[in-house]
Amino acid sequence: MANEFPENRERTANSRHANITSSLDLSTSLDHSVQTRIFKIIVIGDSNVGKTCLTFRFTGGAFPCKTEATIGVDFREKAVEIEGEKIKVQVWDTAGQERFRKSMVEHYYRNVHAVVFVYDVTKMASFQNLKTWIQECNGHGVSSSVPRVLVGNKCDLFDHIQVPSNTALKFADSHNMLLFETSAKDPKESQNVDSIFMCLACRLKAQKSLIYRDVEREDGRVRLTHPPDPKSTCPC
């Protein structure tokens, strides 16, 4: 019995040490797992408005020489860092032609985090069809809290512009969207293209932070785990 005490003490110490080590491991692994979040952003619009080029410009940093009609969907990813957090922006480049998308529409809108509506500034019809795209988006139960942006592509074709900026701006305002007019082809507009997706990523990050706070409230502890950083690195 006399020998049992030191043994017990030693065992307790060992178990404490093991607990601390396992807790540290758990903390590290949790930190690691929480690091990379995925934001699913879908890009929709009429065929031949430049959805593929836009997504390629954002993810690949270049303008594709030759593109063909997207069949179904193309997945593109880009890892970005916002306020020290690594985020994976998962861009779904959807097909514009009805025959290439009809069986996939449900998958586009499932758990989508943000929607990018694209139109061609040199084609009025593509702008007029935006209503249909928005209706389709709403019809698939995409919440109004899901951020949406409007992108007018092919701004480099100055002489052929059919959609005036004012009209597009009014439309974007009426649907509570941000408007970007850009060109995937023009290398000078590259930053503008990036800013479309980065802006969405920032908004999504801000939204997600709020959700986490809500989760904490549910636990009965109202506490901000991520105090706002005065030196914010958000590109918005």
Partner: protein
């Protein structure tokens, strides 16, 4: 009527019937006789003025009439000769013109014959070409039908491939959506675990130790299970 007169009359009638222009000889003769009669009357009148006292024509008068008649006939013949000569010149000119025309037409005929032979050879060539082309057309039609069939097969294959591709894309999209959902669920779970761990690490060491010793090994899975079920 005397027989010789009726004979002459009948012969004349036959002749006139045979002629293209019936009775033209008679009319000519009558007009010539009338002409001669006028001439004789004129001569008679002029000679009667000169010899008003003589009542019947003598032999000299008959000669005079004869001479004048011959002269008149001579004049007429001269006129006729002149007319015929000019007519001959005219005919010669016409003949020359006809010769030139004949020569021209002959040249033209030669040229036309050459053209015809050329056209004939062309026609033969074209016929040969047509035959070749018709054969080629038949071959092309056959090829076209083969190609059309192949195209239909290819289109069918393309449709099938497209469907397969779409199906694969659909599956990929489903997989990615599932992965996203799992990732999101895991992150939420990991976030809660992390917060729970932080809250636990802030407790006084003795409480934490008691909690650790009480729960020792099975506490974490329970938490995980609890969180997983709540999420």
């Amino acid at each position: 009527m005397e027989s010789w007169k009726s004979h002459v009359r009948a012969e004349l009638f036959h002749r006139d019937c045979r002629q293209r222009d019936p009775f033209s000889g008679l009319f000519d003769k009558v007009s010539r006789l009338e002409e001669m009669l006028d001439f004789h009357i004129k001569l008679w009148q002029s000679s009667s003025k000169e010899n008003s006292n003589s009542t019947c024509p003598n032999e000299g008068g008959t000669l005079y009439l004869r001479v004048n008649e011959v002269e008149f006939l001579n004049q007429q013949l001269k006129q006729k000769i002149a007319d015929l000569t000019s007519n001959i010149y005219l005919k010669e000119a016409e003949l020359q013109y006809c010769h030139s025309q004949v020569a021209r037409y002959r040249t033209e005929a030669v040229l036309l014959a050459q053209g015809a032979s050329c056209l004939k050879s062309d026609l033969e060539e074209y016929e040969y070409q047509l035959e070749c082309q018709s054969k080629e057309l038949t071959a092309l039609r056959r090829e076209h039908s083969t190609l059309t069939e192949e195209m239909a097969t290819t289109k069918l294959q393309e449709e099938e491939l497209l469907e397969r591709w779409l199906e694969e894309k659909k599956q990929e999209a489903e997989r990615i959506n599932k992965h996203n959902a799992t990732q999101e669920r895991w992150q939420r779970l990991a976030g809660r675990l992390k917060k729970r761990y932080r809250g636990r690490s802030r407790l006084p060491p003795c409480v934490a130790l008691a909690a650790n010793t009480n729960n020792s090994s099975d506490s974490k899975p329970k938490q995980v299970e609890h969180l997983a079920s709540s999420s």
